[in-house]
C-alpha cells in the first residue's frame, strides 16, 4: 500500500529524510518512531503529497508520488499533529466543508456517520473552538476518515492529550484496524506503538530498523530467562554446562540466562539448577520494553554518527 525507494528530502543544507526505503502492507498498522526533529512529519508530508521529495520515489495506494497528487490525496487521510479545526465553525460545518472538498458524494450522511461513531453527534452544533482537546482530536480524526481513505497518516495522535482522551483515541485507532485500512502512525509514545502497531520502524533522518516489535526485541536482545533462587549461589552459572546456554549474568540476586528457545530449554535448565542444589522459586521470561530497544538504537546511532 505504501512503497518508498530512496525517498529523500533536503531543506537547503539540512538533510531531513535520507534515502528511506519502506514497504507497508494493506491493513497494516505501521509505527514510525523517532525523536523530535527526526523527519517523521516531513516523511508524512511527502507521502501525503504535501511537499515534494528531493530525490527518490514513492507509491501510495497505487498512485505514484508527483504524478497525480490530487488523486493521491483523495485516497489518503491525514491527522496532523494539531487538530487544525475551524474554531468559529460548528463540528458539523467543519466536517461538511472537508467532505465537500474531498468530493464525498453524500457529505451529510458521512458527517453524521462519523459524528455518531466518535460520540460527537449531540455536540454537532457546538463550535469546534469550544471543544475539549480530546473532542477536537476525535473531530479531527473523523475529518481524516470522512472520504474513507485507504491510507491514514496519524501524526502524534495522542500528543498533548490527557490520559483519558489519549485512551479514547487509541481505542478508535484500534477499531480502525479491523476495517482493513493501512495506518501509518507517527509517534514517540513507545507504549502506544507497542500496543497498536503490527510493525514499527525506528527512524532518525534515516531508517535504523524495521520489523514487528517482538521480533526486533528478540533480534536485539535474544530471549532471556530470569531464575529467582531462594539461595543465590554466585558461581553456579559456571557449573551449568548446558550447550544451549549462550550467556549468564546475575542481576539483583537473580540469574539471567540467555537461551535461543526458552520453551524447549527451560525444563532442562531448571532440572540442572535443582541438580546443582539451587532452590528455584520462579522462572519467567525477561521482558524488554520497546523503550529499551528505542533508547539503545538511538544511542548506537548517536555514537555511530
Amino acid at each position: 500500500m505504501i512503497t518508498t525507494t530512496g525517498l529523500t528530502r533536503r531543506f537547503g543544507e539540512l538533510m531531513a529524510v535520507d534515502r528511506l526505503d519502506l514497504q507497508v502492507d494493506r491493513g497494516e498498522v505501521f509505527g514510525f518512531l523517532g525523536p523530535n526533529g527526526a523527519g517523521k512529519t516531513t516523511t508524512v508530508r511527502m507521502l501525503a503529497s504535501l511537499i515534494a521529495p528531493s530525490d527518490g520515489s514513492a507509491t501510495i495506494a497505487g498512485h505514484r508520488l508527483g504524478q497525480d497528487n490530487s488523486a493521491l490525496r483523495q485516497r489518503v487521510g491525514v491527522l496532523t499533529e494539531t487538530p487544525g479545526l475551524y474554531k468559529r465553525l460548528s463540528a458539523w460545518d467543519n466536517l461538511l466543508f472537508f467532505a465537500r472538498l474531498y468530493g464525498v458524494s453524500n457529505p451529510e450522511q458521512q458527517a453524521e456517520k462519523y459524528l455518531k461513531l466518535f460520540e460527537l453527534w449531540d455536540r454537532r452544533e457546538g463550535l469546534a473552538g469550544s471543544f475539549s482537546k480530546g473532542m477536537r482530536q476525535k473531530l479531527a480524526l473523523a475529518r481524516a476518515l470522512l472520504h474513507e481513505p485507504d491510507v491514514l497518516f496519524l501524526d502524534e495522535p495522542t500528543a498533548a492529550l490527557d490520559p483519558e482522551a489519549a485512551k479514547t483515541v487509541r481505542e478508535l485507532v484500534e477499531s480502525l484496524k479491523s476495517e482493513d485500512r493501512t495506518i501509518f502512525l507517527c509517534t514517540h509514545n513507545l507504549d502506544e506503538a507497542d500496543r497498536l502497531c503490527d510493525r514499527i520502524a525506528l527512524f532518525k533522518t534515516k531508517l535504523l530498523t524495521v520489523g514487528d516489535p517482538a521480533a526486533l526485541k528478540q533480534q536485539m536482545y535474544g530471549r532471556r530467562t530470569v531464575v529467582h533462587l531462594g539461595n543465590p549461589k554466585p558461581g553456579i552459572e559456571n557449573e551449568l554446562q548446558l550447550p544451549f546456554v549462550t550467556k549468564t549474568e546475575w542481576v539483583n540476586d537473580r540469574l539471567l540466562v540467555s537461551l535461543s528457545d526458552p520453551v524447549a530449554e527451560n525444563p532442562a535448565l531448571v532440572r540442572r539448577l535443582v541438580q546443582l542444589g539451587a532452590d528455584v522459586q520462579f522462572v519467567s521470561e525477561l521482558s524488554v520494553s520497546l523503550e529499551d530497544l528505542y533508547l539503545d538504537l538511538m544511542e548506537d546511532n548517536h555514537d555511530a554518527s
Binding site: 508530508r45 504535501l50 511537499i51 487544525g84
Partner: protein, 238 residues
C-alpha cells in the same frame, strides 16, 4: 459543488462570525455613507449649493477608498486565521489545487468588497436624492461612474494581492492588518489625484489609472500566486 465554491462559502461563513471582519465590512461603509449625508445637509453645504457640490464630489472619493479597505480585514483573517488555527495543513491535504486555494482566498475578499462598495454607493445616491435632492446627481459624470464601477474591482484585487503577500509572512493578524494598511497605499493614488482635481475627473484619466492598476494587479498577483504553493505554504510561511 465545485471545490472553489465550497471554499468561498466556508470563507464567508467564517467571516460572518468574526467581529473584527464584520466591523470592517459592514460598519465602515455604513459610517462613511452616514457621514457623507450629514456633511451634505449641515454647515456650509446647507446654504451654499457650490459647497454642496464640492462636498458631494468629495464623498464620491469614499467609494474609491472602500474597495481598498474592505478586503483588508477579510483577506488578513482568511490567511492569518488559517495559520492561527493550524488549519492550513489539513486543508492542503485535501484534493484542492494550489490555484483553487489561491483563487478561493482572493475571491472571498474581492467579491464582498466590490459588492458592498457598489451597494454603499447605491445607498449614498439614493439617500442623496431623498434627503438633498436629485440635482446633485447631475454632477455624477461618466468618468465618476467608470471610476466607481470600473476601477473598484481592480482596487480591491490590488489590495487583496498585497494583503495576501503580507499575510503569508505574518503570524499575527493585527501586525498583518497594520502592515497591509500601509502596503496598499499605492492603491489610493486615484483618490489623491481626484481629490486634487475636485470635479474635473475625465475619462482619459480613468483609463490611465485603470491601465496602471491592471499592471499593478498583474505584478502583485503573480508574486502572490508564487507564494501560494503547497510547498511554500508548509515550509516557508511563518
Amino acid at each position: 459543488m465545485t471545490r472553489l465554491r465550497v471554499l468561498l462559502l466556508k470563507e464567508w461563513r467564517e467571516s460572518m462570525r468574526n467581529k473584527m471582519v464584520l466591523f470592517g465590512v459592514i460598519l465602515l461603509p455604513v459610517v462613511m455613507v452616514a457621514i457623507s449625508i450629514v456633511m451634505l445637509t449641515t454647515g456650509e453645504a446647507e446654504s451654499d449649493p457650490i459647497a454642496r457640490i464640492v462636498l458631494f464630489n468629495t464623498s464620491l472619493l469614499y467609494f474609491m477608498v472602500l474597495p481598498v479597505i474592505i478586503p483588508l480585514a477579510i483577506a488578513v483573517y482568511s490567511i492569518v486565521g488559517e495559520k492561527e488555527q493550524t488549519t492550513l495543513e489539513p486543508l492542503l491535504a485535501t484534493p484542492i489545487t494550489d490555484n483553487e486555494l489561491f483563487l478561493g482566498k482572493a475571491l472571498a475578499s474581492v467579491i464582498p468588497a466590490v459588492l458592498i462598495n457598489w451597494a454603499s454607493f447605491g445607498a449614498f445616491v439614493l439617500l442623496t436624492r431623498l434627503v438633498v435632492g436629485g440635482y446633485l446627481l447631475q454632477t455624477l459624470t461618466a468618468p465618476w461612474l467608470a471610476s466607481i464601477f470600473g476601477l473598484s474591482p481592480l482596487l480591491a484585487l490590488f489590495s487583496v494581492g498585497v494583503t495576501m503577500i503580507v499575510s503569508s509572512r505574518a503570524s499575527d493578524a493585527r501586525a498583518a492588518y497594520q502592515f497591509s494598511s500601509l502596503a496598499v497605499l499605492p492603491g489610493l493614488v486615484p483618490l489623491i489625484v481626484y481629490s486634487s482635481m475636485k470635479t474635473l475627473v475625465d475619462l482619459r484619466l480613468v483609463i490611465l489609472e485603470g491601465a496602471l492598476l491592471i499592471v499593478g494587479c498583474f505584478v502583485v498577483l503573480r508574486f502572490a500566486i508564487r507564494l501560494f504553493k503547497r510547498e511554500q505554504i508548509l515550509t516557508r510561511w511563518k
